[in-house]
Amino acid sequence: MSWQRQVLRVNLSKGTCASEPLNMEWAKAFLGQRGLATKYFVEEVDAKVDPLSPDNKLIFATGPLTGTMASTGGRYSVITKGALTGAIACSNSGGYWGAELKMAGWDMVILEGRSQRPVYLKIENDKAELVDAGEIWGKTIWFTEEHLKRKHQDPLMRVSSIGRAGETGCMYAAVINDLHRAAGRSGVGTVMGSKNLKAIAVRGTKGVGNIRDLKEFMRATAAGKKVLADNAVTGQGLPKFGTQVLMNVINEIGALPTRNHRDVQFEGAKDISAEAMHEPRKTDGKPNLVTNQACFGCTIACGRISKIDETHYTVVNKPEYWGASGGLEYEAAWALGAANGVNDLEALTYANFICNEDGFDPISFGATVGAVMELYQMGVLTEEQLGIEAPFGSAKALTYFAEMTAKGEGFGKEIGLGSKRLCEKYGHPELSMTVKGQEFPAYDSRGIQGMGLAYATANRGACHLRGYTVASEVLGVPVKTDPHTTDGKAGLVKAFQDATAVFDSAGICLFTSFAWTLQDVAPQLAAACEGDWSMENLSRVGERIWNLERQFNLRAGFTAADDNLPHRLLAEPANSGPAKGKVNELGKMLPEYYEVRGWTKDGRLKPETVKRLGL
């Protein structure tokens, strides 16, 4: 049993912190982290709740492998009803915070209500208390972390917090820990801000020791690490190039959404790619990339640490941005770059720093800027409104918007609405590249058919981390499928979605799945935890979690009509590259998907599916 079996329940309205035992019956059915916290959430929260009302709850949850020597065993997730989407939200983060919470003796923290004044939660092992956050409210995440460590004389403390974006109501505000690791999507930070909760500072010295069979666990985790080390993606590609290894690959196959999905290839892709990050700059002879970095327990180490050119316009006379910090991952480089037609690597790195410093999702932000630039080109939005000229390709507009969105000022307040609300407000809902209110990540589904279905059906809105069929359709993991056909994609998407739910619930990083299948995860879980963690049961657990999330969304008011893609992807063919002439053929895949899911034609769970999964 590598759960700590303790839940910390914090009522922000009453100012109370209480301990309760973890529901082990649920743990055996939903594993941990994403699955288990979602179970708690759907049992306790009315699906119709306004995400920003005190009745919404916010759960920070670890998995059974969090805080162990299993490779990448340092993850936690933030579960709530998303501010951006109104759907179930579950944002996953690495860094060191999740392991620290587990080491303090907690599997999860459930936050309820709303504090009357800004507070932060301080946890030191068993002791949890709410503390006045007057001195850090209105400040950045970077300030908050430094301040709390200094104030409490504890440099080993780990902090997870929101920045000004989360305080001022940016709808896609993120929760950030360890300066630049993000529970990034769906506005989980917005919900945290609405509760007047600034930060959770944790120090855990108890450790994780309750492994079921330690000897077998050390054997199984060592075997898992060897698989990661021997795999070309996790052993070589990711440590050297990070996820950015994809930029040129996805551009070449004509699936790099460019200029708000008007194009599918970006002529500046090479300038913002992994290779470009390694290239010495003309100005100072140093590359953008300083080093790679691991999260807690991770033997892959794909994280990027970058340093901005000190002479670049974004940081001249701003030495606070001259240090090394979290650099561009593929999704951020795409959203800040290709989505807006911007090819200035240093400007993208700066915008990414700002996203980390004040806590907002670079994917939703960048994609919303893409829509703004399109509206500007159409003459719907003007320089006067925006405060700057904003044609596609303008790095200056991008970085200006980042600064304004961080502070929630000027047109930054509008960009903070997200693409769906903003495009509706300015009369062009068709220009919003979103599903269920959430902006697409960096894969155009006209060139990768399965991703269209994965986006349309993802429970937290458009997302690549819910069913990453890119692995199969582009990279050939675990088997190569043709990205241009719809055949077999329904089953493929389901398989990816269910397996992903297991990875996200175990306490490990989804990126291990480039090398690991459930067959590699099962022995690690089985050695750590009591219960049936065979591969067969894990598949069922994953499917159960997926359907639990679906049930919540249906109760929240979503219908089959929301399993859809923007008109542009269904009707405007890709205009270049290998997928030229293609649209996404969602209509061919969706009915079959409902069928393999055991859902009705209108996307609802059949009674026998509910029964089979024990929901």
Binding site: M69, L156, T205, G207, G209, L214, G323
Partner: protein
């Protein structure tokens, strides 16, 4: 052959597998708070540096201990804390110039790296060989080899 721990910060990714391995070896739990090796993250530069006891020949901690609780392991050269003898006075923590011997509240004793009896768990767990356990007389051998190769390439270049 006498061996010693050798640390190459350039290779460290900050994964903390070493800290978990150390606490597991000594306490049977995964707990960086109880690790005798610590990884320091200098985030302004992106550098990550593991640091632990270097097993000084003339060990300040050993000489300072008033109850002779710190002893030499002749086989490995490690200076080892005998918990049964240690009275938790912490004088050794003052004497050590490097800060690598520390008090543990839970046990009321001090702890330091003991090289795991000659098979250091941290080196074993490190996925990038940032921590290795190698010939104590030749910790510089790899670096010498690299420079030798570089010099050779340069001189060969000149010869052409």
């Amino acid at each position: 052959m006498m061996k010693s721990l050798h640390i190459d910060p350039v290779k460290c990714t900050g994964c903390l597998q070493c800290e978990m391995a150390c606490s597991y070896e000594n306490y049977g739990v995964f707990n960086p708070a109880k690790s005798r090796i610590k990884v320091f993250d200098f985030h302004e530069t992106g550098r990550k540096v593991p640091y632990t006891c270097t097993q000084c020949d003339e060990a300040w901690c050993l000489h300072a201990c008033p109850v002779e609780a710190i002893k030499l392991d002749a086989a490995t050269g490690a200076k080892i804390v005998d918990e049964a003898t240690c009275v938790g006075c912490k004088v050794c923590t003052i004497a050590c110039p490097f800060g690598t011997i520390n008090y543990v509240q839970d046990t009321g004793k001090v702890q330091k790296c003991d090289l795991c009896g000659g098979n250091p768990a941290c080196a074993e767990a490190c996925p990038t060989q940032a921590i290795t356990y190698i010939d104590a007389d030749w910790t510089g051998l790899d670096r010498m080899r690299q420079w030798a190769a570089k010099l050779d390439r340069q001189s060969a270049g000149h010869a052409d």
